[in-house]
């Protein structure tokens, strides 16, 4: 899967995120931006933060900050991850659509 068609959106998000963090009073110490697309078609932009923000981890991972980021990024889901590094994950693709109907008998005869 190639993520090239998400590159313009990723660059827009990458340009916007430092300003959004600064508005929240956070120092935008960003190490890199990583764009990838899963086999399921989900495109993720990882905003890898510098390890020095670990001293203020609670401020960066606050729900209010994540909500503000998501709102500023037109509703794209934003998740903060702190395993193997500190980073924000922005889902650029649309949320996976759930099936509108599931046949009960097929589920029961599994």
């Amino acid at each position: 899967m190639s993520a090239n068609h998400y590159l313009p959106a990723a660059q827009n998000v990458a340009q916007a995120i430092p300003g959004i963090l600064a508005e929240q009073g956070l120092d935008p110490l960003i190490s890199r931006f990583v764009l990838t697309e899963t086999e399921g078609g989900d495109a993720w932009l990882f905003v890898v933060m510098d390890d020095s923000i670990s001293e203020f981890l609670e401020s960066y991972a606050a729900t209010s900050v994540l909500s503000h980021l998501s709102t500023a990024l037109h509703g794209h889901p934003v998740i903060f991850s702190n395993s193997y590094g500190l980073r924000y994950a922005v889902l650029l693709s649309s949320l996976p659509n759930l099936p509108k109907m599931i046949h009960a008998h097929s589920w029961l005869h599994r």
């Binding site: 660059q11 963090l21 190490s31 890199r32 990583v34 510098d50 980073r87 889902l91």
Partner: protein, 326 residues
């Protein structure tokens, strides 16, 4: 007192005489025991038979007379003693009365003094009240005077303001009159036109004179100063661009031997994590320079199946599934 002393002296003399008479009687009894009498010379012993001796009778008569005289003297002494005691009582009574009179007098004087003290206290109280009333009256008078002064000051200020307003009005009217007198000849007659032209020429001459005397001498100074500032700015910019940077010792970058990062089982093992936290490898500025239309942010495109990114994706998908994401 003198009478009392005389009475005491007389009593002592009578007592002495009585002793002498008793002494004579004792001598007679010693000489003639048959003439001894029973104790008590006032009562003759019963059963005594009178002696035919005239001397004895004389003696007896003398004794009787002496005894009667002694009794008389004793009575007189008793009376004198009584008188003395009475006199003493009288004297004491007199002294007591005198003392009482003195006491009454002292009481009267004390009463008078108390009355005087009370009157003095009342006088003092009255004086204090008068003083207090005078003070209050003075305070009221002072406050009234202050109020009157303030009112006078306000009146004065108001009058001053009115006078100032009158002066302003007069000045405005004067200015209007001057303007009218200046404008009227400018528009009314040819002579006024000539006057207006002359005035304009005079104004122009004054302006030129001002430029020549004030502005022109300053122009070279201003130009020289501007040129010097420009030269200094050029020198500073050239120095900052071409001269090597000499950092002060406290700002020099200290090189640190940092261990390289090792990857163990797909996880980067950082031996100097605190050091790497202090010195970030690559930082992105908060406000990236460049025009908004330029895509200056570098976004890496990686394969989702590669080890670190696969972990990242799995984690965020798990969080998205559990929390719903934001």
């Amino acid at each position: 007192m003198n009478s009392t002393r005389q009475r005491i002296a007389a009593l002592l003399a009578l007592t002495f005489m009585a002793q002498m008479l008793l002494g004579c009687g004792a001598n007679i009894s010693t000489i003639n025991p048959e003439y001894l009498t029973t104790p008590g010379y006032a009562t003759p012993a019963p059963g005594i038979i009178g002696s035919p001796n005239p001397a004895y009778a004389d003696a007896q008569a003398t004794m009787d007379a002496g005894q009667s005289q002694l009794l008389d003297l004793s009575r007189k002494a008793t009376e004198a003693s009584l008188n003395i005691s009475q006199a003493a009582n009288a004297a004491a009574q007199a002294t007591q009365e005198y003392n009482q009179r003195q006491q009454v007098e002292l009481d009267y004087q004390a009463t008078v003094i108390s009355l005087n003290i009370a009157q003095a206290a009342a006088t003092q109280k009255f004086i204090r009240q008068q003083t207090k009333m005078a003070g209050e009256a003075t305070a009221v008078a002072l406050s009234s005077a202050a109020a009157a002064t303030h009112s006078a000051y306000l009146v004065h200020v108001t009058q001053t303001a009115q006078a100032q307003a009158i002066l302003d009005a007069q000045a405005s009217q004067t200015a209007q009159a001057v303007a009218a007198s200046t404008a009227y000849p400018m528009t009314a007659t040819p002579f006024a036109l000539t006057q207006a032209v002359l005035l304009m020429q005079e104004y122009d001459r004054e302006q030129k004179s001002f430029v020549d005397r004030v502005v022109s001498p300053l122009l070279p100074i201003v130009a020289t100063t501007f040129a010097l500032l420009l030269l200094i700015l050029i020198i500073v910019l050239a120095r900052r661009r071409f001269m090597p940077v000499t950092w002060p010792p406290r700002l020099r970058i200290v090189r640190v031997n940092v261990n390289p990062l090792n990857m163990i089982d797909g996880v980067i093992k950082d031996h100097d994590l605190p050091l790497h936290r202090i010195i970030p490898s690559e930082l992105t500025p908060a406000n990236p320079s460049g025009l908004p239309g330029e895509n200056t942010v570098h976004v890496e495109i990686v394969n989702a199946t590669e080890p670190p990114f696969a972990h990242w994706i799995a984690e965020v998908e798990h969080q998205l599934a559990t929390k719903g994401g934001l």
